[in-house]
Amino acid sequence: MHNQLAKPTLNFSRIAIYATLLLACAVYLIPLIVMLLTSFKSPEDIRTGNLLSWPQVITGIGWIKAWDTVGGFFWNSVKITLPAVFISTLLGALNGYVLTMWRFRGSQLFFGLLLFGCFLPFQTVLLPASFTLGKLGLASTTTGLVIVHIVYGLAFTTLFFRNYFMSVPDALVRAARLDGAGFFTIFTRILLPMSVPIIMVCLIWQFTQIWNDFLFGVVFASGDAQPITVALNNLVNTSTGVKEYNVDMAAAMIAGLPTLLVYVLAGKYFLRGLTAGAVKG
């Protein structure tokens, strides 16, 4: 709520408000700044200076070493994330379409059952899922992770599209059926073209969820198939040798950049995804 009656004047309370807000900005930004500064420092510099001291020499050695260690896993994450995001979004869209426009006996019950998946603690499915992946010969493969992410992303993607399609009048579908359009024609020609905002929300939500996943990665993938989050964690938590904090920070930046970039470019959709999950429709 905007207080439109009182015209803001520069007085003590307004200065205090701005000061608090800016201080909070600093607190939120400092970890990112520290990460960046540290990643460009030399190990020597790290020992002698402090978190916010300016690097004596700016060096990219941390980034190079980090990329050597986690670069391969970065591409793993890409290989896992892209197909999983697109397939789970498509399935969610189809599910939402059926659940709103083609309801049948039991479809509402199914939606209820699916919705619980939004709250499911994944610990309760880890073991059976890993047995199944093992049986299918997909243990420790990126394909296995793609499947897992599609399965457990379905609850949210379906929820997004179902809630969005709820606001679409079903007369549109009836009109299209009389025009001679079938199930898939209506979906691709009528529904999808008007769903661009929710497609964006869903893609971005799934992208951040899957890219940032650690639990599935660490349980279902080992060795060469690890996603970047697992590789980063291994790098940071190895106790052998001298700690190279510049490499750690550079690797953390590499792992965080894709989602940060998406956030900066499409923050509007990102926020809508977050609140869509919260403020139920």
Partner: protein, 302 residues
């Protein structure tokens, strides 16, 4: 609802059209039945067996749950969850509400400030954990920086202090999620009816009074949504612990999710790990069911 079949002269294409929706939903139905409920049931069964490194189906009744109850590490993890969850939720809510109210005062560059508050939510907990592990590093992190800046007696070694390491998790988790709480409340504030506030101003109420007595109480639903999500994040917290402390020192910063992972996958205690997973499910249900109940009841009354 195809009662049509009684008539028995439905054309084949029409029959296909009527089956298509069910056909399209079928894979997802299978996924939900097997991948969600079937697997939960499977884990439930495993929690009654003596499975160790490999699943076995020798029934041992409630023995795994009994062992869990006697396990000191489980109790540390549960107690940590209570402390971590309580502090994390309370602090995130307070910070989120305060920032939202302040941001609602016609602030210049509000969009930019909002972006800054919210960006940690886009990061992986592993990245957050890595960053804060470095910031809280005893000897090189904030500890050293503040001493360099002239605060001679400053000491910050919580990360290696078994009694205080949980607070490190709280700090990192609050940093990551409080911006999200702010965003939730800000969108709630923007939805508050203007005329109510004007009426209160005409009645002579001061701005703080209006917020405390009128605006914030009207945001109860937002409050419960936020509470729900934060509690959910807390119970599922695994990556943050893994990245920051790996449960250490010793197992002083263990959380149930971490406990479940290490007993199931590293220590070959599948039976007990499954039992702990079922207790986590119980915890989620114990907050989800009342929430959904009040939601549904509220809708019926509305």
């Amino acid at each position: 609802m195809s009662t049509m079949t009684a008539l028995g002269r439905v054309s084949p294409t029409e029959k296909l059209q009527r089956w298509l929706p069910k056909l399209v939903l079928a894979p997802s139905m299978l996924i939900v039945l097997v991948g969600f409920y079937g697997y939960i049931l499977w884990t439930f069964l495993l929690s009654f067996t003596n499975s160790s490194f490999m699943p076995s189906y020798k029934w041992v009744g409630l023995a795994q749950y009994a062992r869990l109850m006697e396990n000191d590490r489980w109790w540390v993890a549960s107690k940590n969850l209570a402390v971590f969850g309580g502090l994390f939720i309370a602090i995130s809510l307070v910070i989120g509400v305060v920032l939202a109210v302040l941001l609602d005062q016609r602030i210049r560059r509000e969009g930019f400030i909002r972006t800054v508050y919210l960006y940690p939510m886009a990061l992986s907990m592993i990245v957050t954990g890595t960053a804060w592990k470095w910031l809280l590093n005893p000897g090189l992190g904030l500890d050293k920086m503040l001493r360099d800046w002239g605060w001679e007696g400053f000491r910050l070694d919580w990360l290696v202090d078994p009694d205080r390491v949980v607070y490190c998790l709280v700090i990192a988790a609050v940093w990551q999620s409080s911006g999200f709480v702010m965003a939730l409340f800000l969108s709630g504030l923007r939805g508050v009816d203007q005329s109510i506030i004007r009426a209160a101003q005409v009645d002579g109420a001061s701005l703080p009074t209006i917020y405390l007595r009128i605006v914030l109480p009207s945001l109860r639903p937002v409050f419960f949504s936020a509470l729900m999500i934060l509690a959910h994040i807390a119970i599922k917290s695994f990556d943050l612990v893994a990245a920051m402390t790996a449960g250490g020192p010793g197992y002083a910063s263990d959380l149930p999710a971490m406990f479940m992972y290490s007993f199931t996958f590293s220590r070959g205690q599948m039976g007990m790990g499954s039992a702990s997973a079922m207790l986590m499910l119980g915890a989620i249900l114990s907050i989800l069911v009342p929430y959904l109940y009040s939601e549904l009841r509220g809708k019926r009354h509305a």
